[in-house]
Amino acid sequence: MNFSFATFLPLLPVIVLSLTTVTLMLAIAIKRHHTTSFWITAAGFLLSLLSMQYTPAFSDSVATPVTGLLLFDGQAYFYTMLILFAGLVCAFFLRNFIQSYQGNREEIYLLLLISVAGGLVLVASSHMASFFIGFELLSVPLYGMVAYTHERNRALEAGIKYLILSAAASAFMLFGMALVYAQVGTLSLIGLSKSVLIADSYLAGFGVAMIVIAMCFKLSLTPFHLWTPDVYQGAPAPVGALLATISKVAVFAILIRLLVQAPDELTHFLQPILVVILIASIVVGNLLALTQNNVKRMFAYSSIAHMGYLFIPLVAGYEVDVKAVNVYLLAYVVTTLGAFGAISAISAAANTGDCETLDNFRGLFWRNPYLGGAMVFIMLSLAGIPLTTGFIGKFYVFMSAVNTSSWGLLAALILGSGVGLYYYLRLMIALFSRDAIQSDTPVLINRSSAILVVLMAMLVVWLGIYPQPSLEFIATLK
């Protein structure tokens, strides 16, 4: 195989990001400086985003493989964009959050960059090897980030919990890959789709199932969700945003690719199991979120429910409705960034804990109308009310389910949304409470984070009122 510059051109965003990582590492080695480190990171994300338009798949919308390991198509670039966008926003939240931290602050940017690079590899991988590398590259820095503020007991506990359970998931995944290889004889996902299977390919089917289980763990679907509330609660708010967006988007992307590429014989028997998993996720996520007084835990459970909704276009009618998934993911990422951003805007690393209880949000509207108002729209979007992007996402999921006549899934979706309203409204109305606020930690609002949350809310409304450009863009992806 001839390698030339053109071969690696599609890889440009990943390359830029990796170079930024190295630059940042050198910069820290020369002199520790928080602000510089942050700006290097932000510039890296921006450059990486900008570099995307020079990549062939993006400009000509042709799927281009890079060696046998990666395949860059329109889908992959869409997820790349989402991940880079989320990374950039998280970096801003992280900066304001970590500024007051007593220990070393710069390394968290390194972890962030590496994790995002892992996400980019994961969404483009077309081979089990790159799949696994991306998967681990995404997760390992996250352990560090979750436990970064290790003076807080909860953060340390969350980090270790996530580490151990993730390791178990990875083991599942590796074993699954081995089983697939044992029967099919190829590690390439493309090769998998072309492989001719003998009638009873239990081994490979079991392997695919194990890989899917590992991914369900990362996506925190019931019954693999048990880590989610604890880790979300323990992790610093900006890291929570990262966990809830980047890691979900990346894993979802590869899950779609796997389900699309794997031959029907291997995935067909998975469908009923996935249906059970998704309904369980919607039920468990929504019911457990009902009584949470901790906003982070509430978001954790609600994200379980959202992942359940996201699975509907994936499994309804034995066909993957990629467009609906993409629209929903876009809505989910923007909204979740805003939601976690709001927590991070009123929290700081120097405090013993984040401002994450419902009480911390009580009366927020009167103290800061802009942040409070933004939160209203973000909550409405999470609940899927028209005028917000959350509705457009839910609308596509509905369309996908109606199109395939999946009435059972629709019932789960409707009931889940109904129950979900209760806790979203609870938080929303708390923002307007006039009662006196009693809380241990003083609520200070970080101005630049608050502005970013307001921007997210504006994006939420913009994508909700005028979705045409974004929908058109998603429709053109190949």
Partner: protein, 525 residues
């Protein structure tokens, strides 16, 4: 442009109210009043300028005004507004009650006046959108949008009781009920659109495109989709098994919120059934008609009995609403021109009457500090205008001749008699119960011994104007409903023809119908 203006005026006015509060607490009130007066004026202008009774014979759709702008072409969604007689009646009602709602909260609301009026105006903008939208997606947008401001109205400006949680709970209940109903309706809308897409490869949410779709659907699916629409509207109407949000929401809402809810929001459901459920699924609706009418009968009695035992005046009025909405349901599913025309009057009359009663209840609360009827009594002695007006509205509620309520109920019953005689007789019997709950309302509040001594502060000129204007409108329609019937006749003829192409109805007459249209003997001198 005028139709968009109808929606934009309250919307922009709401923003102005919000910011106008900086200039003084009175500014938002005036802005809101001007906005709603403008809406009313535009509505009246449409009434005077339009010709609503011309083409009765063709029984086709004939929009008096229509506007269309592209919105989300990729989904086949456009901003499509149109107005016919049915919409116009509803818009007139919205405009009038909007003015009343602003007027009645003039003194009641003192905190965050700007935000209050913003929510009030936005909910009215949403309602106007519902009455004008002809694109199903747009309709659904407005349908859901009008709920959010009402949620805030109830939860933030609701009844000031010791336990604030109560009103938040009531608001949340209201929101969840209507949202779930809305989502079920969304399934119906999407299924219709997708059936159309599979037939024509054209994604379209347009009303007129979707009108003929029922011919492509199997009867079973048609029935299911009809149920989706029906449930969505039934929650809002409300119909008895799904009604329990209404008394709570009313009890906790501020007066303007109650006027808004009972007077206008409930009517969106009746409008939706007439505009969408019947024309979209005529066969399935006919199949379902008996069940729906039984639900209606049940609701009439259930609402009436529960109204009788209430001690909270607002809850009492709320339950009478449930009872009256049963009549609406019977009227809709009987589906001949008499009942449909009666419906237009009935919805209008109920909106005005319930609105008036809620305003009076609010005024009582401002004076006595309670909604509890056990703590009232002997008001005749203490006030001069208020008791008389309360008496009038209670009488209107039970539908005595001379009020619009009588015309509406009479037309509905007379029309339904040919279709379902037994049910109609049973429903007529419920008018006795209406008498009972109206009398108990009057009895408990006006007569007996007054717990407080001395004369109270009587109605101010503002309060008097509000209530008297409602009473006058009720009387005018009650004595001379013909102009109103002429407005709605064409739209209703269309609905009647799609629902029951062979006119099984026209029960008592063979000649031209006396319920509107140019053929009407009342119009042609």
């Amino acid at each position: 442009m005028t139709l968009s203006a109808l929606i934009l005026i309250p919307f922009v006015g709401g923003l102005l109210c919000w910011q106008g509060e900086r200039l003084g607490a009175g500014i938002p009130r005036w802005i809101a009043l001007i906005c709603m007066s403008l809406v009313l004026a535009i509505g009246i202008n449409f009434w005077l300028a339009g010709d609503y009774s011309g083409v009765t014979a063709t029984a086709g759709l004939n929009w008096q005004a229509e506007e269309q702008y592209p919105w989300i072409p990729i989904l086949g969604v456009s901003i499509h507004f149109a107005l016919d007689g049915l919409s116009l009646v509803m818009i007139l009602l919205t405009g009038l009650l909007g003015v009343i709602a602003v007027g009645c909260s003039w003194k009641e609301i003192s905190t965050n006046v700007g935000a209050f009026h913003m929510n009030l105006l936005w909910s009215l903008a949403g309602v106007l959108g519902v009455f004008l939208a002809l694109d199903m997606m747009l309709f659904f947008f407005f349908w859901e949008l009008m709920l959010i401001p009402v949620y805030f109205l109830i939860s933030l400006w609701g009844r000031a009781s010791e336990n604030k949680q109560l009103r938040v709970q009531a608001a949340t209940k209201f929101f969840i009920y209507t949202q779930v109903g809305g989502l079920i309706m969304l399934v119906g809308i999407l299924a219709l659109v997708l059936v159309n897409y599979k037939a024509t490869q054209q994604l379209s949410f347009d009303y007129e495109t979707l009108l003929g779709i029922h011919k492509l659907i199997t009867p079973e699916l048609q029935f299911i989709l009809m149920l989706c629409f029906f449930i969505g509207f039934a929650v809002k109407l409300p119909i008895v098994p799904v009604h329990s949000w209404l008394p709570d929401a009313h009890a906790e809402a501020p007066t303007a919120g109650s006027v808004d809810l009972a007077g206008i929001l409930l009517k969106t459901a009746g409008y939706g059934m007439l505009r969408f459920t019947l024309p979209f699924f005529p066969d399935a609706s006919q199949e379902f008609a008996n069940a729906a009418m039984l639900l209606g009968i049940f609701g009439i009695f259930y609402g009436a009995f529960l109204a009788f035992v209430q001690t909270d005046i607002k809850r009492l009025i709320a339950y009478t609403s449930i009872s009256h909405m049963g009549f609406v349901l019977i009227g809709i599913y009987s589906g001949n021109l008499l009942t449909l025309q009666g419906l237009a009057i009935q919805m209008l009359a109920h909106g005005l009457c319930a609105g008036g009663l809620f305003v009076l209840a609010g005024q009582l609360h401002e004076r006595l500090g309670t909604y509890d009827m056990r703590k009232m009594g002997g008001l005749w002695a203490n006030y001069s205008y208020l008791p008389a007006l309360l008496m009038f509205f209670a009488a209107a509620l039970l539908g005595i001749p001379g009020t619009a309520n009588f015309v509406g109920e009479f037309l509905i019953l007379i029309g339904a008699f040919k279709v379902v005689p037994v049910l109609t007789i049973v429903a007529t019997a419920s008018l006795v119960l209406a008498g009972v709950y109206s009398l108990i309302l009057i009895h408990r509040t006006l007569f007996g011994k007054s717990p407080t001594e001395g004369k109270g502060i009587d109605l101010s000129a503002r309060e008097l104007t509000l209530v008297v204007s409602l009473a006058v409108v009720l009387l005018v329609i009650g004595f001379y409903p013909q102009p109103l019937l002429n407005v709605s006749v064409e739209a209703m003829t269309f609905i009647q023809h799609t629902y029951a192409p062979v006119d099984v109805s026209n029960p008592l007459l063979t000649g031209p119908l006396p319920v509107g249209g140019s053929a009407s003997p009342v119009v042609t001198p």
